[in-house]
């Protein structure tokens, strides 16, 4: 575990020493503050729009951070050959993979914390309400979803040759699942056989990332989700992340390291 934590620590250090996170945060903050300072159509529900826009920015920024940070981890280790002094220590490839996953997931968590804290302070200051539990649920489910995304991109970084192609494919797939995943069963019903079975199979195979998109909880000030449901969805996320990491390990343990 010490090795995995040490590896995760390096990923975290890399995140806060690179400019990506700061650029995204400053952009999100600027746009949110700008929106927040304008009173559109003298609408008293302006805070709702503010939250909606800010949450969309947070989702996009978090995806960019998760995918770009993860996509470069293993290719960079191989290209810059830092993997060699590392594997010359008593470290297994499985530990490298687990450390990278943990590091990227924690890095996403830190970024999300900063983003949500900013949103909470800005919208709380304007609306005078502090729905802490709603924020916690939205944050947690978002973070679990990013765990699946990180595991998926880590797997992709072992399958696709270039980090850029991995990042692009991951972006398209994740956005596709987020926006279309929930409708696949309805689409399947309208298809003739054998397309129906194919689409249904895809529907049951893909990780349903849309389940983790509970932004409405904050935008429309809805009540909390049941904690049992939260727990089940967390288990679902953990299972998918575990499966993807296992697949990545199967590929990585036999992979040549570009010697």
């Amino acid at each position: 575990m010490n090795t995995i934590l040490a590896l995760a620590g390096v990923v975290l250090k890399e995140l806060y020493r690179r400019k990506d996170f700061y650029v995204l945060f400053v952009l999100t903050a600027l746009l949110t503050l700008l929106m927040g300072s304008v009173n559109f159509f003298h609408d008293r529900n302006i805070v709702r729009y503010l939250r909606e826009i800010c949450l969309l920015l947070i989702w996009m920024s978090a995806l960019v951070i998760a995918i770009t940070t993860t996509a470069r981890q293993l290719p960079a280790e191989r290209e810059q050959r830092t993997i060699f002094p590392l594997l010359a220590k008593p470290v297994t490839r499985g530990q490298v993979l687990a450390g990278k996953f943990l590091g990227c997931w924690l890095a996403c968590g830190v970024a999300l914390l900063v983003f949500y804290a900013f949103l909470g302070v800005v919208s709380g200051a304007r609306a005078g309400q502090w729905p802490v539990w709603q924020y916690l649920q939205v944050f947690w489910l978002h973070w679990v979803m990013l765990g699946i995304v990180v595991a998926f991109v880590l797997f992709g970084s072992l399958v696709f040759a270039a980090p850029s192609s991995n990042a692009t494919i991951s972006f398209v797939l994740v956005l596709g699942i987020l926006y279309l995943g929930r409708y696949l069963n309805n689409i399947a019903l309208q298809q003739p056989e054998p397309m129906r079975t194919v689409v249904y199979t895809v529907y049951f195979l893909i990780p349903h990332l849309e389940w983790y998109d509970v932004r409405d909880l904050l935008v429309y000030e809805k009540g909390l989700i049941g904690w049992v449901n939260c727990g089940l969805v967390t288990l679902y996320g953990a299972a998918y992340s575990g499966l993807l990491l296992f697949a990545a390990w199967l590929v990585f343990r036999r992979k040549r390291l570009n010697l």
Binding site: G9, E14, R17, R18, R81, F84, P85, L87, A88, K89
Partner: protein
């Protein structure tokens, strides 16, 4: 005396790059035995199979057949690398970390307690003369300084066996002297050093025994003093004769 490093009939083949091409045999039935406390030079021209052998010993590449052992443990087991230090030919480190952070990272991997790691990091930064710049990111270091960071990381766990892949390549004479001093110091501490080098004069100075391989095959192995006495010439000439070097006639 027990062998610290051993290969038995080691064979490594790489798949053909193009269809119809034969598999490339990098190492052919290599038998090596390095005993405790020895400084062992592993020599050969470029492409002879030195780096491939080291890569097998470090677990980067799997042997096609045969076996390799470190401290009697199969090199495929990560625990075999618990008591070794490795210095790669070029510097491959996380450039966004400082030297101190890099050493702390590796110390953590070896499970060193914090106090021990702190003490060890201080000692090593002093040894490689980087104590004044230990908190600067590695990307700001010169090539020589980066090579010294590499040497420090190879020693972080106080290894009993040090594997050095061309440790002085690209270093200025001062840097080479420093590396040579460190190797001799390790030898006096009873450590085993296994290293590849093209600097045959240096090898002759510091090594107890050498092995010369060519085209993946072991050509000669023995004590440096014995080889020099037997061939009545220096190591460089012995090496050139073994690899079949023919001087070109000048036009």
């Amino acid at each position: 005396m027990d062998a610290i490093l051993e290969t038995k009939n080691l064979r490594v083949e790489y798949p053909a790059r193009h269809a119809g091409q034969a598999r490339h045999v990098a190492v052919k039935g290599l038998d090596l035995r390095v005993k405790a406390g020895e400084v062992f030079g592993f020599l050969g021209p470029n492409g002879a199979g030195k780096t491939t052998t080291m890569n097998v010993l470090l677990g980067f590449v799997s042997a096609t057949s045969g076996a390799a052992f470190l401290f009697g443990v199969d090199v495929r087991k990560p625990i075999a690398r618990q008591r070794i230090g490795y210095l790669p030919e070029l510097t491959y480190y996380y450039k966004f970390l400082t030297a101190e952070e890099l050493l702390r990272f590796y110390a953590r991997i070896f499970g060193l307690p914090r106090a021990t790691a702190d003490r060890r990091i201080d000692q090593l930064l002093k040894l490689v003369e980087l104590d004044r710049v230990g908190r600067r990111p590695i990307k700001t270091y010169s090539k020589g300084m980066q090579q010294r960071v590499g040497l420090a990381q190879a020693l972080i766990n106080d290894p009993d066996l040090l594997i050095l892949d061309e440790p002085t390549s690209g270093l200025d004479p001062l840097g080479r002297m420093k590396v040579r001093e460190i190797i001799q110091r390790l030898k006096s501490e009873g450590k085993t050093v296994f290293f590849s080098s093209h600097e045959l004069g240096e090898v002759e100075t510091v090594c107890d025994r050498v092995a010369i391989i060519n085209q993946g095959e072991l050509k000669v192995e023995g004590r440096v003093a014995d080889l020099v006495a037997q061939h009545q010439t220096n190591l460089e000439t012995i090496f050139l004769n073994i690899i079949g070097y023919q001087p070109q006639l000048q036009v």
